[in-house]
């Protein structure tokens, strides 16, 4: 399996406050990577750096490299909009746009220039099926997306992200705002998506990391403490701090 994203000495500051310290990480293609660590350790910051969502925050300074398919995403000739099409994102709180279900899913493809009605219908249906929500919404695509339940909204957001045909999907605690049933549906879904996509998921839920991920990265105070096969990390961690964290001694 080859590596789709690698970071080299990645550092990030919010003003004077350093949130990421020399992160070196290689993420294998078509696998699920879980990011774990106590609150404030920089998981969200890291994941948002991968598709340059941190560009939206004026105070952010970044050094080091993030290579996506061998090319540095901070180089001048990177088109941010194309990068974000290739590396999609699902947020902690479901954030569908206040438009119809159909328009939500079609938003991305339309952004990237698809106008044909037939083509859009096809993409929307496929994305909704891939996100395992088609059966629930197929008869009300014109309804406002905000009328869906929280779990449905999150699957809609996943569909919306899939509709632009990304290679990588970044998910920042996608189930933390959801009930257990919705959570397990989304976990199943993530496992299915692994066939076609590379998934990087932030989670506070250790069981979730064990259940779904192939590799796990443990962050602490902006450092990447340990990275490796999930079963390894959880059965025989190399670092004392990892062990303390996964056994619940702090965090």
């Amino acid at each position: 399996m080859s590596e789709i994203i690698t970071t080299k000495d990645l550092c990030l500051w919010y003003g004077d406050n350093q949130a990421l310290k020399n992160i070196n990480l290689a993420i294998p293609e078509k696998s699920i990577t879980a990011l774990i660590g106590p609150s404030g350790c920089g998981k969200s910051t890291f994941i948002k750096t991968l598709n340059r969502m941190n560009d939206l925050i004026p105070s952010v300074k970044i050094t080091g490299e993030v290579n996506y398919k061998g090319r540095n995403i901070f180089s001048k000739d990177t088109d941010v909009n194309e990068l974000r099409r290739d590396i999609g994102m699902v947020f902690q709180k479901p954030n569908p746009f206040p438009m119809s279900i159909y328009d939500n899913v079609a938003y991305g493809p339309r952004t990237h220039g698809i106008t044909s009605r037939v083509k859009l219908n096809e993409i929307v249906e496929q994305a909704l099926k891939d996100a395992a929500i088609w059966d629930e919404v197929s008869d009300r695509l014109k309804k406002n997306a905000l009328s869906l339940s929280g779990g449905q909204q999150q699957r809609l957001c996943i569909a919306r992200a899939l509709a632009v045909k990304p290679e990588v999907l970044l998910m920042d605690e996608p189930t933390s705002a959801l009930d257990p049933i919705s959570t397990s549906r989304i976990e199943e879904l993530i496992l299915q998506l692994k066939e076609k996509y590379t998934i990087i998921i932030v989670t506070h839920n250790m069981q979730q990391a064990v259940r779904i991920s192939d590799n796990t990265a443990f962050f602490l105070l902006g450092d990447l403490v340990e990275f490796g096969k999930t079963e390894k990390i959880f059965s025989q961690p190399k670092d004392k701090r990892t062990e303390d964290y996964i056994t619940g001694r702090f965090g």
Binding site: N81, R85, M89, F91, N95, F97, P98, G108, H112, L146
Partner: protein, 280 residues
């Protein structure tokens, strides 16, 4: 409770009731007076003709049209300027000092008496475009710019950051995010700003006396813009003060009063409509 205290409470309550009643009666009296004096004088002939000395007739059709023209002309300039400025300030401007300075300037601008706008408008616009509805409209644009900027900005701030993030995360460029996610979310502010501005335009006299003049000629939109003309409010002033035509003045007053009520009503309805849409 002591007697003194009881009496004190009774006294305060009475004072409140009396002042409230006084205010209510004053408003009702004003409304009733204007409507009673005005409505009987609103005739079809008044509404549908222009004044003619030969036929000894007064008609306010030109003034109605002028009012419509000036509202349209003002909004044509006001909307893009005000909404554009608000979007720039909240979505693009990075320098917080500049933003606060502009906001403060706008705040101050909205407190200046309108006659001063009229004076400046006369020197700047009327000297260039002649005393005309256009000069009046441009003056009104400056007067109302702070209002529409404010209301738009306020509602821009209520558009959740998560919408913007969602759109950027799909690879949308800045302008697409603004056009598809931000602007629809601030429509209520824009509409509220428009309604408030229309209300102010209808009520404005001082600034327009200087800049748009008080002619009652019947024109189409484009000729109208280039010619002097009185709006309803200015016409009211002219008929009451210069010509002593109090019946006409009261008829106009009644019309303006009804329009004002209508505008307040629509502002409330728009507010309710969007409030409902936002929490589906």
């Amino acid at each position: 409770m002591s007697k003194k205290r009881k009496f004190y409470i009774f006294l305060m309550r009475s004072i409140m009731i009396v002042t409230t009643a006084f205010t209510a009666i004053l408003v009702l009296f004003l409304l009733a007076y204007v409507f009673i004096e005005g409505i009987p004088n609103i005739t079809w002939e008044l509404l549908s003709t222009k004044p003619s000395y030969l036929e000894e007739r007064i008609g306010i059709l030109p003034d109605i049209l002028n009012t419509v023209y000036i509202v349209i002309a003002t909004l044509i300039f006001l909307l893009p300027l005000g909404v554009g400025a608000a979007i720039y300030l909240t979505e693009y401007a990075r320098n917080q000092r500049v933003v606060t300075t502009i906001e403060y300037a706008a705040e101050t601008l909205s407190g200046i008496p309108s006659i001063i706008y009229g004076l400046v408008g006369m020197l700047v616009f009327s000297n260039n475009f002649g005393t005309s509805l256009l000069a009046g409209a441009l003056t009104l644009v400056i007067m109302n710019l702070p209002t529409i900027m404010r209301t738009t900005q306020e509602s821009l701030k209520t558009v959740p950051q998560s919408y913007r993030e969602g759109a950027f995360g799909l690879g949308a460029g800045k302008w697409r995010v603004i056009r598809t996610v931000v602007i629809p979310g601030c429509l209520d502010g824009v509409i509220t700003g428009c309604i408030l501005s229309i209300g102010r335009i209808l009520g404005e006299s001082a600034a327009l006396l200087f800049t748009a003049g008080f002619a009652h000629a019947l024109n189409n939109f484009f000729t109208g813009l280039r010619s002097p003309g009185a709006t309803l409010t200015v016409a009211l002033y002219v008929y009451a003060k210069e010509e002593g035509e109090f019946e006409v003045a009261f008829a106009i007053a009644a019309i303006l009063m009804m329009l004002t009520l209508l505008i307040n009503l629509s502002a409330t309805l728009v507010g309710k409509y969007f409030a409902k849409r936002k929490n589906i």
